[in-house]
């Protein structure tokens, strides 16, 4: 029983180690990155031989985690919310096969889009796959849920989804840890072929099994100590608060709740509590971080006759992160603001670091593309997305990991010239390589810039899967080596860079340009470390 000051992410990592984890599989993504980093830096994890190397993307991560679970060991798979889109194929089907060793999938959602391109609520994925789901309201709960979650997963025979949000991931609090368990021994399932070969005939049986398990999952939710009903004598309305929304509710009632409150942190929904609330209260207010997931479900299974309030009827804002003030307003509480933000305060958007190689890449690219009035630049996900902002204003799109390459291809198919893709080295190996093969197979007229800073920079400088091998990867995929051009993005090389860019735009086929210079952040860190 030791107390530590942990980020939510760190609490999850420590809990997994303490629960006998054998491997974590992940691709970096804010706000989930610190889970895997914590395990990578843990001496205990090293002693125990816990696998913790970064995976190439979320799909490879989840499949590897499932493989470890198949072999009987406990596996953790972490990602940001949009990462689950990449891993969704494995995710949906792991719910069909079920697991052997305990398997926990962490989805770190980012409502308000602090560092993301959307704010999808992955509890919907949990419902979609019909697996049990946990949503902690405190760092301590995050620890306890993951610590116990592997057992839950093994007992039920299914993967467990733990959904956190930015505020949980990146907020620190005191966490009491528990005794460390030993790891599972390797033990492949005896009935493995009946479960893990999802041929239609077997899959149909598995789906019936999954459907039958729903009642068991609901019963587990109803017995869960994380779902709590706080009764009060006053029954004008009932309040359901899920995950971290429970904290904002509590903040507004420092002396105890005024109305009955159901705290939900384990799904599927604990029906018996909800029925009690619906029977006793005239109206139900639903507080949840993200989409109106519970609110919509309530409308479905309670039917008419009771008013449901929440994000759908405007009681709470439909988008964005909850705050204690937003919840207070929904409860009819008054907010006291004494000072306004003075008009003199300006926005301060993030920017590419001074000395960053992406800057030089964009400078040279912009100068060349000024010569082509119809040029379109398809961007991607990473630091270089900041090239969208002044002074560069260099990209036209940013949709999802790897989309630069394939959108450039599609636009080129439609007649756009020059069709340029800008992608980072880590994003390229994450999801750009398959798109490049499409380009090669049709000899598409695209110019692909892999802006290589030899790291996964936006998330803080994690290893990049293709470092040192980008040229051979591209050549292996079939790009003509004469059109794989490496350059060093520095001011003094602008003339040379511009000549190369111009030549490759004019080449009618697939070109790959690789401006390569180490990330200024990782370089500075290395220099500091070598001084010590």
């Amino acid at each position: 029983m030791e107390k530590h000051l942990f980020l939510g992410d760190e609490a999850i990592a420590q809990a997994a180690i303490d629960a006998g984890l054998s491997g974590v599989y992940a691709y970096p993504g804010t706000p989930s990155t610190e889970i895997t980093e914590f395990i990578q830096n843990s001496p205990v994890a090293k002693d125990r031989g816990i696998h913790c190397r970064w995976s190439t993307n979320e799909k490879t991560a989840m499949e590897a985690a499932l493989g470890m679970s198949y072999a009987g060991k406990r596996a953790l798979c972490c990602m940001k919310h949009v990462g689950l889109n990449v891993a969704a194929d494995c995710f949906m089907n792991a719910a069909m096969s079920g697991v052997n060793g305990g398997m926990i999938i962490i989805s770190a959602d980012d409502p308000s889009m602090h560092s993301s391109q959307n704010e999808q609520d992955n509890r919907l994925y949990g419902n979609f796959a019909m697996i049990p789901m946990l949503e902690p309201s405190s760092q301590q709960e995050a620890y306890d849920m993951v610590y116990e979650g592997f057992e839950l997963s093994e007992r039920l025979g299914y993967p467990v989804l733990v959904r956190i949000t930015t505020r949980m991931a990146h907020s620190r609090a005191g966490v009491v840890t528990r005794e460390m368990k030993s790891q599972n021994k390797m033990n492949c399932p005896e009935d493995g072929r009946q479960r893990f070969i999802l041929l239609p005939a077997l899959a149909r049986k598995r789906f019936k099994t999954l459907l039958a398990a729903q009642a068991v999952f609901t019963e587990a939710s109803e017995k869960s100590e994380y779902n709590v009903y706080y009764d009060t004598p006053k029954k004008d309305k009932g309040i359901i608060a899920t995950g971290i929304a429970f904290n904002y509710l509590s903040e507004n009632y420092p002396d105890g709740f005024e109305y009955p409150v159901l705290k939900i942190s384990q799904y599927p929904l604990p029906k018996k509590y909800i029925e009690k609330m619906a029977d006793e209260c005239k109206e139900i207010l639903v507080l949840e971080e993200g989409y109106p997931v519970v609110e919509e479900q309530l409308k479905g299974f309670l039917g008419k006759g009771i008013t449901i309030r929440g994000r759908l009827d405007g009681t709470l804002q439909r988008d964005g992160e909850l705050t204690p003030d937003a919840v207070g307003k929904a409860l009819g509480k008054e907010i006291h603001r004494y000072y306004a933000i003075p008009e003199v305060v300006e926005q301060r958007p993030p920017a590419l670091c001074q000395g960053c190689g992406h800057r030089d890449m964009y400078e040279a690219l912009n100068e060349v593309l000024a010569e082509y009035k119809d040029a379109k630049v398809f961007g991607d996900i990473g630091c270089y997305t900041l090239g969208a902002l002044p002074p560069f204003r260099a990209i036209d799109t940013c949709i999802d990991m790897g989309a630069s390459v394939t959108m450039a291809k599609g636009a080129s198919d439609a007649g756009v010239f020059p069709a340029v893709a800008v992608i980072g080295d880590s994003t390229f190996t994450h999801s750009g390589m398959t798109g490049l093969l499409d380009c090669v197979n049709e000899n598409s007229n695209v110019t692909i810039v892999i802006s290589d800073n030899e790291t996964t920079a936006m998330t803080g400088g994690q290893d990049s899967a293709g470092t040192g091998r980008l040229e051979s990867i591209c050549a292996g995929i079939g790009v003509d080596p004469a059109h794989i051009r490496v350059m060093i993005p520095l001011k003094k090389n602008y003339d040379e860079m511009k000549t190369i860019i111009r030549e490759e735009i004019e080449y009618n086929g697939v070109s790959v340009l690789i401006p390569r210079r180490e990330c200024i952040q990782t370089l500075t860190r290395k220099k500091k470390a070598s001084k010590k």
Binding site: K3, L5, L7, T30, P31, T33, E34, H114, S115, S138, Q140, E141, R167, M168, H170, S171, R172, A173, G174, V228, Y230, I244, N247, Y248, S250, E251, Y253, P254, D255, G256, F257, K263, T323, P324, D325, G328, I335, H336, R337, Y338, Y339, A340, I341, P342, V344, V345, E346, Q347, R348, P349, P350, A351, L352, C353, C383, L386, P390, M458, T459, G460
Partner: protein, 207 residues
Amino acid sequence: MYTDINKKEKSKQKMKTDIILSGVGGQGILSIAAVIGEAALKDGLYMKQAEVHGMSQRGGDVQSNLRLSDQPIASDLIPQGQADLIISLEPMESLRYLPYLKKEGWLVTNSQPFINIPNYPDIEKVNVELGKLPNRVILDVEAIAKEVGSVRAANIVMLGAAAPFIGIDYNKIEDGIRHIFGRKGEEIVEMNLKALKAGYDVAQSRK
């Protein structure tokens, strides 16, 4: 645990300080939070601290909500109008969080602007706004840090200037510094303690 939140009695609460730390990504507001957190933990206090990671760290505006109390804390975020203290490494950034400040709350900020945007306002206009606040400490932390030894201790000068308003004994904050910087040797610890004291003295003279 969550059940405590509903059971806690407000009358028992003797200590509660809600702090907003602000600055520009890369200035190091989290190092200030780390020392306060260490001191709070040693003091047996409850603490919650929400940080900003990811995209904003690339030179954008950053803030951290730090809540300390002798009773369990519910929300990771501070409600508007309830912060006891804003600690800012940048003057314009300190103003961005004014809606969170209590009427009688304190604002402690570095006076030197960090200009990485083309439309940074006239600093005189920023100073006029700062001047309107009843409780404020404005100091040039880099200059003071240079006087005591190293400009790298600027964040600790800032912490010292905020120390009278945090609600934790000064010697506990000193212990926090010893703990955090202990690995780097006695010389670094002493320099940071001096920086802390220099900031503290400025705040005491203006309080």
